[in-house]
């Protein structure tokens, strides 16, 4: 009985594909491994949301491995004091050398970790300095409000450099191969067993010093791809927790009077949208895009695709303020307006196009696509629907040749300019699925990034949002929910921006 109370069984659609978040091709669930098996210098605070769900607090940084830190007077560096007695799982004490090695590694591995570091202006190894065993200093390149928060994200995990180096080779100085299947961390949980594609088992690290000792001693996280089965498992009490279910299931489970409860939080900085590639005529014509924005059946999409699980991003009554994000567009379903716009664009006769979406997101995107297809037919736009298998989605996006897409995007760092940098900026990143380019937007986004003044900042934000919503290369539809379903006796769930579960706060009654 005790054993059951201290064991948490979680079933998910997919599990981590490796244990190293710096690894090439690490998937989302592997962020969860980094979060649990490794510590960071700092972590975010926690707060209770209006609906009673705990959430991380973006505004507050709290100590984790670092006991304290001091930002220099000029604001151009920070010095961390490491926690005394903090140990890695193998018993080696954590030193500033490990921290430096870890940060260097994040940069050196290239790809995603390096990119994430750069988002916080952490770009050069020279910035990181181990002063002594317990003192670590980071020099800033520029004043960037994202620098400090960026050191609390999973990528900035601290590795046991001695252990890792023992398993490094000449060709592989960062022990990338070994760390794929092994951890060298000091986080609250040790990885007890890892079978890729099957399960990962965590065991509590009883010597953990960076926070209150977790209640749950053992976590078994299995992969159960079938959502239906997961719901059944939860309903039967065979698992304690699951996420990534179709919104319909969450909607129903939250209504049911059973042993299951659902915790929901609107995903920060995130939206599901219909994008139109502005390089593909006739979507190069803003009128056509607006027509599409006026014809989409928003309410139906909300009801029949998202099952009400999310915040509508359409039909705003008030103008954009620039203070909150994501914010709704003024568009509503208005066929007459749409037709008029099409006429103005000279496209009354309609055209043919293809609407693509990621099969992995099919539960929501497919009904949306079908509803969109039906609605667009009213404008004589014949839409063919193209499902792209999950793993090909990235490649498909990269090619930038899909005329119309349904997609979702969320940014870790909860700033609108961060979102826009990815999605509207002329640097044309992958997630600028519309290939949208507008120097005015670029200027405003760049300005907002390093803007210190609150008011000016809000003006910049309002500026680029207004342009984006008027030109409407992407039509925001809904800000999705992050839902987790669990047994009623599971307490302490916290929402994190990386969306992975944090078992450290969880307990069973």
């Amino acid at each position: 009985q005790d054993k059951k109370a201290e064991t948490l069984i979680v079933a998910n659609e997919t599990g981590p594909n490796m244990l190293d978040i710096h690894g090439v091709g690490a998937n989302r669930p592997s962020y969860g491994v980094a979060w649990l098996a490794y510590d960071r210098l700092m972590t975010y605070g926690r707060k209770k949301l209006a609906n009673g769900v705990m959430s991380y607090d973006f505004a507050k940084l709290e100590p984790e491995l670092a006991e304290s830190w001091q930002v220099a007077k000029d604001g151009m560096s920070v010095t961390f004091k490491l926690r005394k007695g903090a140990k890695f799982h193998d018993g080696t004490p954590v030193t500033a050398k490990d921290v430096k090695w870890s940060y260097d590694r994040a940069l050196a591995m290239g790809g995603f970790p390096a990119f994430q570091m750069k988002a916080g202006s952490l770009e050069k190894p020279e910035q990181f300095e181990a002063i002594d065993d317990s003192t670590f200093k980071v020099t800033f390149l520029r004043k960037d409000k994202m620098t400090m928060p960026d050191m609390a994200v999973p990528v900035a995990s601290i590795y046991n450099s001695a252990l890792a180096l023992k398993n490094a080779t000449k060709e592989d100085p960062w022990a990338a191969t070994w760390l794929k299947n092994n951890t060298a961390g000091g986080g609250a949980y040790k990885v007890a067993s890892y079978k890729p594609g099957q399960e990962i088992v965590y065991e509590r690290f009883d010597d953990w010093k960076s926070g209150p000792l977790p209640k749950i001693k053992r976590v078994i996280q299995r992969e159960v791809p079938s959502a239906g089965n997961r719901r059944a498992l939860l309903a039967k009490g065979d698992i304690d927790m699951t996420y990534e279910m179709p919104p319909k299931d969450f909607a129903e489970m939250s209504q049911e009077k059973g042993n299951v409860k659902v915790a929901s939080v609107p995903a920060e900085n995130s939206m599901i949208y219909v994008g139109m590639n502005v390089t593909k005529p006739p979507f190069d014509n803003a009128k056509v895009r607006q027509a599409v924005a006026y014809v989409l059946p928003y309410d139906k999409m909300m009801q029949n695709a998202a099952y009400g699980r999310g915040m509508p991003l359409f039909g705003a009554k008030k103008p954009v303020t620039g203070n909150d994000w994501p914010t709704a567009t003024p568009y509503v379903t208005d066929l007459a307006k749409a037709k008029a716009l099409m006429k103005e664009a000279g496209m009354e006769a309609g055209f043919e196009t293809t609407l693509s979406f990621d099969l992995g997101q099919g539960t929501v995107s497919e009904p949306m696509a079908i509803l969109a297809q039906e609605a667009l037919a009213q404008l004589n736009i014949k839409v063919a629907i193209n499902k792209v298998p999950g793993a090909n989605w990235r490649a498909a996006l990269l090619k930038k040749d899909m005329p119309m897409t349904i997609n979702r995007f969320g940014g870790w760092l909860n700033y609108p300019e961060y979102f826009f940098l990815w999605t509207y900026h002329g640097q044309n990143a992958v997630f600028n699925t519309m290939s949208y380019q507008n120097p005015a937007v670029d200027k405003l986004v760049d300005a907002a990034r390093f803007e210190g003044d609150k008011k000016k900042y809000a003006q910049d934000v309002k500026g680029f949002i207004d342009i984006a919503y008027k030109e409407v290369p992407r039509i925001p539809v809904v800000q999705p929910m992050v839902d987790v379903a669990m047994q009623k006796n599971v307490q302490g769930y916290t929402y994190w921006f990386h969306l992975q579960p944090d078992y450290r706060q969880i307990s069973k009654q």
């Binding site: 990119f115 079978k195 594609g197 992969e223 791809p225 298998p389 090909n392 498909a396 990269l398 990143a429």
Partner: protein, 337 residues
């Protein structure tokens, strides 16, 4: 004997080469781009191009093929993109799960289908005959994934008879030390009955799902073969010699009917191996089938190639085994003749 086996294996090489070439071409035609995958969510076009060069994907197809074959011959089956793991280790750790499931399904099917077929053949045209045919055909008429989901829903969710479809073992039990990789066998080897029972329980639903699907061909073949044999002249001889009906039915008729049934068995087995990909997906079974599906949908070359190659090798060995078994039963087919 050994020489003939060797010869048979050599004879399979052109097929394997064919399989390798076709798989190679097929995987290269997959729409995904591993370079884009590696580049991660933030990869820029330049970064992707860089990775492409690093992976050798910018080389011409024939060059890539030669490299692939060279690696293969060195025992390097490549790494999976999605899991980052070596394909060979993945396959070897997952293969026992698939084989255990498939064999259980097959044994189950055989245990049901063959008596059913014999029964039907001894009373052709009777209601038993029709019933057997009806049941068997119904089984093969449902898509396996649907049968699986339905069984899980009924027997697990509604009735609570079956254990949770959570993979090979209840989460509270720990897997036995790996010897064969078959939980049923490994648990017995260490004398852990709890694990044995647990593993057996987990096997029931997926095995039944698989068995249902191949009941029909087996029962049908058994019936037809038995009917054919029972009307053969030598059965009349046996009956005229006054042999006991059971002797006639089993020693004489069934052993002869076994020959076509064995051929079907081989086909069914390879069929099962192929179609359990769906069942594995439904029951969260950590086998090579579910692995292959993920990989294929993810355009993950190496695992797909590795999987297909494994299956082809299995197929070759399976056929060899059947030929040898055939020789054991039928002196006319002795392999060294």
């Amino acid at each position: 004997m050994l020489a003939t086996i060797l010869k048979r294996l050599l004879g399979a090489i052109p097929n394997l080469i064919g399989v390798i070439v076709v798989t190679f071409l097929l995987t290269r035609a997959l729409p995904g781009d591993p370079a884009a995958f590696f580049a991660g969510p933030a990869g820029t076009a330049e970064a992707v191009e860089e990775i492409r060069v690093k992976l050798g994907l910018n080389k011409s197809l024939p060059e890539q093929f030669l490299l692939y074959v060279r690696d293969l011959s060195r025992g390097d089956w490549g790494n999976s993109l999605a899991t980052g793991q070596s394909v060979l280790t993945e396959l070897t750790t997952r293969l026992p799960a698939s084989l255990e499931l498939t064999l259980c399904g097959l044994v189950l099917a055989v245990v049901i289908a063959i008596p059913l077929g014999i029964l039907a053949a001894t009373r052709p045209g009777s209601w038993i005959d029709h019933l057997c045919r009806g049941i068997a055909t119904a089984g093969v008429s449902l898509p396996t994934f649907f049968t699986g989901l339905l069984l899980a829903y009924i027997f697990y969710f509604l009735l609570g008879w079956a254990p949770s479809p959570l993979g090979r073992l209840d989460p509270y039990l720990s897997s036995p030390p790996t010897v064969t990789g078959f939980y049923l066998i490994d648990s017995l080897l260490v004398g852990d009955l709890d694990v044995f029972v647990g593993a057996a329980k987990q096997l029931i639903l997926p095995a039944v799902t698989l068995a249902l699907f191949v009941l029909a061909p087996l029962a049908r073949m058994t019936r037809a073969a038995m009917l054919g044999v029972l009307s053969a002249d030598f059965i009349r001889t046996a009956r005229a010699a006054g042999l006991a009906p059971t002797t006639v039915l089993f020693t004489y008729a069934f052993r002869n009917a076994l020959l076509p049934v064995m051929t079907t068995l081989g086909m069914v087995f390879s069929f099962l191996l192929g179609s359990n990909v769906l069942v594995e997906k439904v029951f969260a079974w950590p086998g090579i089938g579910s692995f292959a599906i993920e990989a294929l949908v993810a355009s993950d070359y190496a695992p797909v190639q590795g999987f297909v190659l494994t299956m082809a090798l299995l197929y070759v060995f399976l056929n060899l085994a059947i030929d040898i078994a055939y020789g054991l039963v039928d002196p006319r087919m002795r392999i060294d003749q």
